[in-house]
């Protein structure tokens, strides 16, 4: 009887191993299929390339579906597999894929991720492919050059697709009710914050981003205020603790929990935007991409955007944290076809369709002149500023290895202490500056290839 039992168990174990055996053969089949498709490609049949999108939502999934079918129609030899990734998981997904060498053929990345990937030798330089691409001059030089110059070896690892221009959004109803003029400079904004606050009705003048992404957002605000366009001075010291920045941050920190909601301290972008869209905050600082969201909640005409705020030096500065880029991964088996696809996405028609739909600013000069750009005010202002020679572009030191970690690990957390008054703006920015200076030095010594 015991034997029966043992044999029953043995059967069970066998069964399990058989099922898992089946499974692994399924996996084998999968890889066989892959190799099959690859060899088919070599013999001139259809090539399939995988394309990861770092920011999945329904609008983009639909949009890319449309664009990809257009592309496939024009290029019958290439099929594109679209893989949407949730926004806050995309970087981790790329990181894991790079470390295990399972990267896609190409994907959407942010310029501020590129150096992390380049250091790990994951990306394909595109310069050779670009030289034989007839539409490369359509790309906005500002961003395409910065992508090239900021990479450690001076090669191009991405094509700029979209740029997110920061803006101050304001709620017109609240301003009318408080009988306050729409501000035109940061000093006027600071004054308006106090005037538009009406705590009894749960209305605050401003909503600060105090949680995830706080320090990066303030970095943009501070450089726009000061008008400084160089991130490091001639001695290689970070300019982040400039007296103008200290003064600006200090003023903002004093607004917290007086003229801004207390919950600001843990605000990520979502909470900050919903504070604005629920009519609880008269102003927020965010990029122009949230236009559609405000329109759907507050209603057209109930809000506006300030894109061209003058700095205290009376200059127009756009502070950029880089473009959204399209990159090709080194592991790709089909570099030609993949480049064809990513470059096609940045050409006039695709770039224009894409940015019109998501409400952002295209990086293609021809697309910037399109009809729809003229119609949407914040985008028009951004486009004008980008095409205007007097506008200065200040690009944050996103290429310095460790910049992103510093923000995520230290600066964002410490920022909450500044809001709470536990740390002064001076101390905070001095620390920030010394860390940034150290990282820059390390970057110049260890990463940059001359």
């Amino acid at each position: 009887m015991k034997k029966k039992f043992i044999s029953a168990i043995l059967c069970g174990v066998l069964g399990i191993s058989m099922i898992s055996g089946c499974g692994s053969s399924e996996g084998d089949k999968e890889s066989q299929r892959q190799t099959a498709s690859k060899s088919a490609a070599d013999s001139g049949d259809v090539v399939e390339i995988t394309f990861w999108d770092n920011y999945a939502d329904t609008i983009r999934t639909e949009l890319y579906g449309k664009l990809i079918s257009q592309f496939e129609e024009e290029n019958p030899g290439i099929k594109v597999k679209y893989v949407p990734l949730p926004a806050d998981q995309a970087k981790s997904k790329y990181d894991v894929a790079i470390q295990s060498e399972t990267t896609p053929d190409c994907g959407v990345t942010y310029q501020y991720w590129l150096n992390d990937f380049i250091v790990q030798d994951a990306l394909l330089p595109l310069d050779d492919y670009m030289s034989s691409w007839d539409k490369k001059d359509e790309l906005l030089e500002t961003f395409q050059n910065s992508i090239k110059e900021m990479s450690p070896d001076g090669k191009t690892y991405g094509l700029a697709q979209t740029v997110t221009i920061p803006a101050v959004w304001y709620n017109t109803d609240i301003f009318t009710k408080a009988d306050t003029e729409i501000p035109q400079s940061w000093d006027e904004i600071l004054a308006a914050v106090e005037k538009t606050t009406d705590k009894e009705n749960g209305v605050y003048g401003f909503s600060i981003r105090g949680g995830a992404g706080s320090s990066q957002q303030f970095e943009q605000m501070m450089y726009q205020y000061s008008g400084i366009t160089e991130m490091f001075d001639e001695n290689g010291n970070s300019t982040i603790n400039d007296p103008a920045h200290v003064e600006f941050l200090d003023k903002f920190a004093k607004l917290y929990n007086v003229y801004t909601p207390e919950s600001d301290i843990t605000n990520a972008s979502t909470e900050m935007i919903s504070a604005f869209d629920s009519g609880s905050a008269a102003m927020i600082f965010h990029n122009i991409g949230s236009y559609g969201q405000h329109r759907d909640t507050l209603g057209e005409g109930k809000f506006g955007a300030l894109v061209n705020l003058k700095s205290i030096q009376d200059t127009n500065v756009i502070v950029s944290n880089g473009a959204t880029t399209l990159s090709v991964f080194k592991n790709t088996k089909h570099p030609e076809e993949t480049f064809k696809f990513v470059s096609w996405l940045t050409e006039h028609s695709a770039d224009s369709q894409f940015n019109e739909k998501i409400g952002q600013v295209p990086c293609n000069k021809e697309a910037l002149k399109d009809e729809w750009v003229r119609k949407s005010l914040p985008i028009k202002e951004s486009a004008d500023a980008l095409l205007d020679e007097n506008t200065k572009i200040a690009t944050l030191p996103i290429n310095v290895t460790g910049y992103f970690d510093l923000h995520q690990n230290t600066l964002a957390k410490e920022f909450q202490n500044v809001l709470l008054g536990n740390t002064t703006a001076q101390e905070y920015l001095d620390n920030w500056a010394s860390e940034m200076t150290r990282l820059k030095k390390q970057y110049d010594e260890k990463v940059v290839q001359k």
């Binding site: 015991k2 174990v13 949680g211 909601p261 919950s263 843990t266 990520a268 919903s274 609880s280 970690d405």
Partner: protein
């Protein structure tokens, strides 16, 4: 049970599949964590990578961040496990009686058990939000508060708020486990107790509780480990803020490993937290005399 002695092979065959699963999948990654703990390892800074001895541990133990996270972890685990046990016990005791509508209430009470941390965070962010959250609206209508409270941002209320959200989805764990165990208790003892004229409370203290001891020890231990490692809810609700008020040790680890690629440092914290849990588990098992009967 002299038969037991002869069938030496059977228990090994019985545990074989489990050993295979755990062995094939978990052992290598676990070893890797212990290995990386002694390395400077960040794939985005290859020029700094390499063996670093106990540097990671020294750095961890000399920064305040670790101790504050440990304290938050302690508060988090103790309050979660304690509250969940108490409420779970109450629910199980009520649902163990037979009355009309019991099935309905049982189904309802167990609903949150189906929720992931991310889902729970979605539900509670709609409730706790300072500007449009319903909790502030209710409390204002009841006249309890005059100004909106920022439940998830005020350093006094944030931990409590997150604890309530986690409690919400944690009660069913204890309720289900305890109820299932209660169902296994023989009714005869209760009949006897009734005949002897025991009050409800006496029955509970003298009969139910001792009989449930093993279940309670087991569930609290498992839950302690589980809550200690749980990050999804905190991550989605507060991101660990404000100023680290809700940053537990596991939040610290998740940040290092997932967001900033600091695998060496993250692994070192994991190793420390591994030993903390191991010590807690051993002490707990020894102190409670758990499993003694079953080893007889």
């Amino acid at each position: 049970m002299q038969k037991k002695q002869k069938t030496v092979l059977t228990p090994y065959l019985l545990i074989l599949p489990a050993v295979l699963f755990i062995g094939c999948v978990m052992i290598y990654p676990l070893c890797k964590v212990f290995y990386l703990a002694f390395q400077n390892y960040n794939p985005t800074m290859p020029f700094l990578n390499g063996f670093c001895g106990i540097d990671n541990f020294v750095k961890i133990l000399t920064t305040g961040e670790f101790y504050s996270a440990l304290l938050v972890s302690l508060k988090w685990v103790v309050s979660e496990v304690g509250l969940q046990l108490v409420f779970g016990m109450i629910v199980a005791l009520i649902l163990n009686q037979s009355f009309r509508g019991r099935g309905f209430f049982r189904a309802m009470t167990f609903v949150p058990w189906a929720m992931s941390g991310v889902l729970t965070a979605v539900l509670f962010s709609l409730i706790f939000n300072e500007n449009f959250g319903v909790l502030n609206d209710i409390l204002r209508k009841l006249g309890i508060i005059k100004e909106n409270v920022a439940w998830l941002a005020n350093s006094k209320t944030v931990l409590g708020s997150v604890v309530v959200a986690e409690l919400w989805r944690g009660i069913p764990f204890f309720a289900i486990s305890l109820l299932a165990a209660m169902q296994g208790l023989s009714q005869d003892i209760y009949e006897a107790a009734k005949v002897d004229g025991c009050t409800r409370f006496q029955t509970f203290r003298k009969i139910t509780l001792p009989l449930l001891k093993n279940t309670i020890v087991l569930t609290t231990l498992l839950r302690t480990i589980w809550e200690f490692n749980s990050v999804d809810l905190i991550y989605s609700l507060t991101g660990g803020g404000p100023v680290g008020k809700t940053t537990t040790l596991s939040m610290l680890i998740a940040n290092q490993a997932l967001t900033t690629n600091n695998y060496g440092y993250g692994s070192a914290i994991s190793v420390i937290s591994f030993f903390i849990l191991a010590i807690v588990a051993v002490i707990y098992i020894k102190a409670s005399g758990f499993g003694k009967e079953s080893d007889e």
